[in-house]
């Protein structure tokens, strides 16, 4: 009985905490249906730097879909920009899977000579902030003729060492004995990789995909630096700094940016768990 009450309290507390985490989304939702007048009223103290506090009505007095209509139907660029984001992210994720998964396998399973140092190098490279390598990246991409194409954003990201690290952990959990046994049974390296490694590390791979999606969906610095042509810009660049005239537009654009990301992690999470539980079961 006590345990149940305790559990109940814990659950409620966690639920409230989670809800608190989601408050900004509520702001977005309510803001996106607010008419321009109400938005101005609410946000004016902040924008004009006055001395009063701002207000916010979660349920607007005169809800309107004008901002949605404006963004979805009257801004042809939005369509282009949205699909640019989709294209970039899908290409990056696909490329990463092709490149990073085998690399992680190599690091996890084969004790070759420079493994530690190389892996550490990979991690350090992953941690370098973009400003530092921006110019050098630019020169390399320019030299390869990729400037002002989507390739300039996609290719460096495909070879990012971040997924290698994530998936490496996934592969680490594999029992060595299994691999040896398979070898002795005469399986080739590739077969081992495909039939043994991949399924068991699917959890790691999926977490890399989900985290990767979330990161590349809101990528700002690289497209800004390498894409001059505005028709190539992804959605993340299109969100202007929110000012009064643009407030409604920005809110709606934010929501539309949010939806695919939410969708991905919602569906990805289930697979994630299934994968993890499956690998646990196998033990």
């Amino acid at each position: 009985m006590r345990k149940n009450i305790q559990k109940g309290i814990t659950k409620t507390a966690l639920f409230l905490l989670g809800a608190a985490f989601c408050i900004p989304v509520l702001f977005l939702l309510s803001g996106s249906v607010m008419s321009r007048y109400e938005l101005t009223e609410s946000l004016m103290p902040l924008m004009a730097d006055r001395e009063e506090l701002i207000r916010w009505d979660f349920i607007p007095m005169y809800p309107t879909f004008e901002h949605y209509i404006r963004v979805l139907f009257q801004t042809p660029q939005f369509f282009v920009v949205f699909w640019n984001s989709v294209k970039i992210v899908i290409c990056i994720l696909a490329g990463q899977l092709l490149i990073a998964v085998p690399a992680a396998w190599a690091f996890a399973v084969y004790p070759f000579r420079f493994r530690k140092i190389l892996f550490t190098l990979y991690i350090v490279l992953m941690l370098m902030p973009f400003q530092v390598t921006m110019l050098s990246n630019y020169l390399v991409l320019d030299g390869l003729g990729l400037m002002d194409t989507h390739g300039a954003v996609i290719l460096p990201a495909v070879f990012s060492t971040y997924p290698v690290f994530l998936i490496y952990r996934g592969f680490c959990g594999l029992p060595k004995g299994l691999i040896e046994a398979a070898r002795i049974d005469g399986a080739g390296e590739w077969t081992i990789f495909r039939h043994l490694g991949l399924p068991l590390a699917s959890g790691g791979i999926l977490s890399a995909v989900v985290l990767g999606f979330l990161e590349y969906w809101s990528l700002i610095e690289q497209p800004l630096a390498f894409l001059k042509d505005q028709t190539l810009w992804p959605l993340s660049l299109y969100l202007p700094e929110i000012s009064i005239e643009q407030a409604g537009y920005s809110f709606v654009a934010s929501i539309i940016t949010l939806i695919p990301a939410v969708f991905v992690f919602l569906s990805g999470r289930e697979y994630l768990e299934q994968g993890i539980i499956a690998s646990a079961m196998k033990e």
């Binding site: 559990k7 900004p24 902040l46 902030p129 971040y162 060595k176 390296e189």
Partner: protein, 306 residues
């Protein structure tokens, strides 16, 4: 005794053993090569260029030896930025990992936790510009936090705090970081917790262990791997907090919020490429050493687990 056994084995199956050795020797190269090539071109080469620039002057590219390093080490801004970044990391990482673990454990004891988990993950999906506006709405002078404090009577009438303009800015940043990253931290911890086979915990419970003992003695030791992953990821994400901080507080925020990335950003805008390159190389070297040490620690434990 063992030597003999091994020798006997190799004598018994020489061909198979040699075959396997040959295959696996080159196999890793096949798996690694595409990644390695790509990393070289797109990641390593630019970094080497940065290393090169650390020995040259910014625009005219004349040789200046170690002068850039000397300048950087005595540069006030650099020292401040390093201090702040270290402080930020030292505060954030344990907080995130600890709170994440705590919440994950609580969640692991519940049955239907899907929805709550999703709610925690929401912040990760929010774009930077939106987050910035929300923070402004909360933490500016005219923001909700002030309003709340006023209503709760904690703030004297008429005085508004601009949180971003005082030392509190540091904690706003920490809060922002925690808010964004708790979600996946919890997910990863949960994954780790659940990967511990249920049999073990059942057995422990049968033996009379309490929940707490169950956790610390049975589950926790198995979480080292997750801990390693989460630490590195959290460290990486502590760098990502820059864009939001920059959008909220500009290029020159309050002193306590001034991180390495602010410095790099400003140096680049002002064409101080030489200093930036030298600083980056230093930071890179330190990170390299730190990660090597971490790896040693983990691998020691990690090996014993596997």
């Amino acid at each position: 005794m063992q030597k003999t056994r091994r020798q006997k084995q190799s004598k018994r199956h020489p061909s198979i053993w040699q075959n396997k050795f040959r295959e696996s020797r080159y196999a890793w190269a096949g798996f690694l090569l595409p990644s390695f090539l790509g990393v070289c071109i797109f990641v390593l080469v630019p970094f080497l260029d940065v290393v090169r620039r650390s020995f040259l002057t910014a625009v005219t590219e004349e040789w200046s030896g170690v002068r850039n390093y000397q300048t950087v080490f005595s540069n006030q801004a650099f020292i401040l930025a390093v201090k702040n970044t270290v402080r930020f990391t030292a505060v954030c990482l344990p907080l995130l990992i600890g709170i994440g673990l705590f919440l994950a454990v609580q969640l692991s004891r519940l049955k239907k936790m899907q929805m709550i988990k999703s709610m925690f993950l929401f912040p990760m999906a929010m774009p930077a510009a939106t987050v910035v506006l929300i923070w402004k709405m909360f933490f500016a002078r005219q923001g909700f936090l002030n309003g709340g404090l006023l209503a709760a009577g904690l703030l004297p009438e008429g005085s508004f705090f601009d949180f971003m303009g005082t030392k509190a800015a540091f904690w706003v940043l920490v809060f922002s970081y925690l808010w964004k990253n708790l979600g996946y931290t919890i997910v990863l911890w949960l994954a780790g917790i659940f990967s511990v086979s249920a049999d073990l915990t059942e057995a422990a419970k049968v033996d009379g262990a309490s929940e707490r003992q169950c956790f610390w003695r049975v589950i926790f030791p198995n979480l080292k791997g997750s801990l390693y992953t989460i630490t590195v990821l959290s460290f990486l994400n502590s760098f990502k907090v820059f864009r939001e901080a920059y959008l909220v507080a500009g290029s020159y925020p309050h002193e306590s919020m001034y991180l390495l990335q602010h410095l790099f950003n400003n140096w680049f805008v002002n064409l101080e490429l030489d200093k930036m390159a030298a600083a980056a190389v230093c930071v890179g070297a330190v990170l390299f050493a730190a990660i090597l040490v971490l790896q040693k620690l983990w691998d020691q434990d990690g090996q014993s687990q596997e």
